[in-house]
């Protein structure tokens, strides 16, 4: 037997091994796979969820926090089933969900239409960049939720004021994404299009917009998240018939399990909007890597 010092000793799966003198071990050095990488993703996710639920249950069980503030996981679970039944059987919660869905979709529609147009104006024209952009930046730095009372005063307590705030919040990231995207094309591509005698229109649609699609979609994804926040905030402040109103009422009556389950169903709606954008991105920007979560991780 020979002994080795820790630095130079042959290793199997990262651990030093001793080697008989005159023999040759089969594996001396091989990569180590961390335990977390050996279990399937679903199992890892389920394990984490289970751990969180256990902690939650323990906090509830030992009354670390008041039971009025923090209901047990079981109570929330029962309420999720209750709300789910109400929605599936076409109860008042379904119409509330539908109201919020309409607000979100219309809000996103206007945000995309206005945001993309403004983005092209800012990213493509000298007027837009020099005259319009400074104002957009100034408005973007304001807390946009603070405009909610104005929208309510102008558009009333119906769906319009909620659509307006949702669109208002979601527009800016789309403008920024589009404008940045139009600047993404490199000098060589611009030169090529100039030598081909391409018109401004051709340059925009055949080169600049396709090149900028990854950035445009980043803006759309941020906008898709913002549109939900806008709609719910407007409902909190301006009532109406949506899910935000249901949450506000439930919270004021200290029905915390209900608040939790309503938030869960809202997050499903938010996820669907977000996921639609991600699916569209994968289809259109097939040449560009977008991660599973939709979080941008380019380069």
């Amino acid at each position: 037997m020979r002994s080795f010092d820790a630095e130079t000793a042959p290793r199997v799966l990262g651990r030093p091994v001793t080697v008989e003198a005159g023999t040759f071990p089969e594996t001396v050095w091989s990569e180590q796979v961390a335990w977390i990488d050996r279990i399937p993703r679903v199992v890892a996710m389920a394990g984490l969820l289970f751990a969180v639920l256990v902690v939650w249950w323990a906090v509830h069980h030992f009354e670390v926090a008041s039971r009025i503030i923090l209901p047990s996981p079981a109570e929330v679970g029962r309420d999720i089933v209750f709300v789910g039944k109400n929605i599936l059987t076409g109860g008042y919660m379904l119409s509330a969900l539908w109201t919020t869905t309409k607000e979100v979709l219309w809000g996103f529609f206007f945000a995309v239409a206005i945001g993309f147009s403004l983005g092209v104006l800012v990213g493509e024209t000298s007027f837009g960049e020099r005259a319009v952009l400074p104002y957009l930046v100034a408005i973007d730095t304001m807390p946009k939720v603070a405009f909610a009372p104005l929208f309510l005063a102008w558009l009333g307590f119906g769906i319009a004021s909620k659509v307006a705030l949702a669109a208002f919040i979601a527009t800016f990231p789309i403008v920024v994404g589009t404008a940045a995207g139009l600047h993404a094309a490199d000098e060589n591509a611009r030169m090529l299009f100039r030598t081909l005698g391409a018109s401004r229109w051709q340059t925009l649609f055949r080169m600049k917009i396709p090149t900028g699609l990854p950035q445009i979609f980043t803006g759309l994804k941020i906008g898709a998240v913002g549109v939900m926040a806008g709609a719910i905030t407007a409902e909190f402040l301006g009532g109406g018939k949506g899910f935000g109103e249901l949450i506000r009422v439930a919270a004021s009556q200290l029905q915390t399990p209900r608040v939790f389950s309503l938030i869960l169903y809202l997050s499903v709606l938010g996820f669907l909007v977000f996921w639609t954008v991600v699916v569209l991105e994968r289809k259109l920007v097939f040449w560009h890597r977008a991660s599973v979560t939709g979080i941008d991780d380019r380069r």
Binding site: F193, G197, R206, M207, W287, H288
Partner: protein, 273 residues
Amino acid sequence: MMQSATPVAEQTVGRSLARPVYQLRNVSKSFGFGRIRALDPVDLDLREGSFSSVIGPSGCGKSTLLKIMAGVTPPSTGSVILDGKPVLGARREIGMMYQQATLFPWLTALDNVLLPIRIRDGRAAAEARRKEAQDLLELVGLKGFDKVYPRQLSGGMAQRTSICRMLITEPQVLLLDEPFSALDELARDFMNIELQRICLSRNATAFLITHSIPEAVLLSDVVYIMSPRPGKFLEAVHIDLPRPRTLEMMTAPEFGEYVRYIRSRLDEGAVTA
């Protein structure tokens, strides 16, 4: 001929008696309302079917000169005549290639090749030229790569695709801005020989910007040496080697002689600047 410190001998090679296709007179460029001189007045004649190279230190205005010739940037003074008509903007007769292949990742190799037709003449014209584009890809050794997207191509394959894109418009004049400098030496030699074959078979006039003296000597009838900023032509060196050139010629003593001479002239220019 040329405004240059050294008088340039009249060309004696047979090819050079062809008519001039490209003529530059007193072309200069300055930036910042004349404060920064990028390119001092240049006169240049490119004869039909000739291959010329420009060699000079970085930032001597070579690329600016090429952009002016391509009609992409207007000169500050002077005029550029191509085929008897002044260059006032992009021209169909001109094909360009750059250091980067600049293929668009959302188009297949074939659609990238057809892009110039698509831009200039529309979708129907591009469809009609499909077969030609396929033939071009085959010519550069990319048969069967029609439907492949650029991310799956190696650097050399991408650059070959961009040659096809340049050739699909059947340009009379090729303006080449260090087209193969991003490739490894083997690929580069191969591409240079390909380039010569294409130019000879089409009687195309080529104008190449390069940093490699052997490359310039291998390909060119005339090598123009430029001084550092503000760029101006120091000398035109005529390369009197037979066509077609081969890679074996690079080991010949005359070849080494040309390389050494150009090298020494470049070094002088760098010192006097």
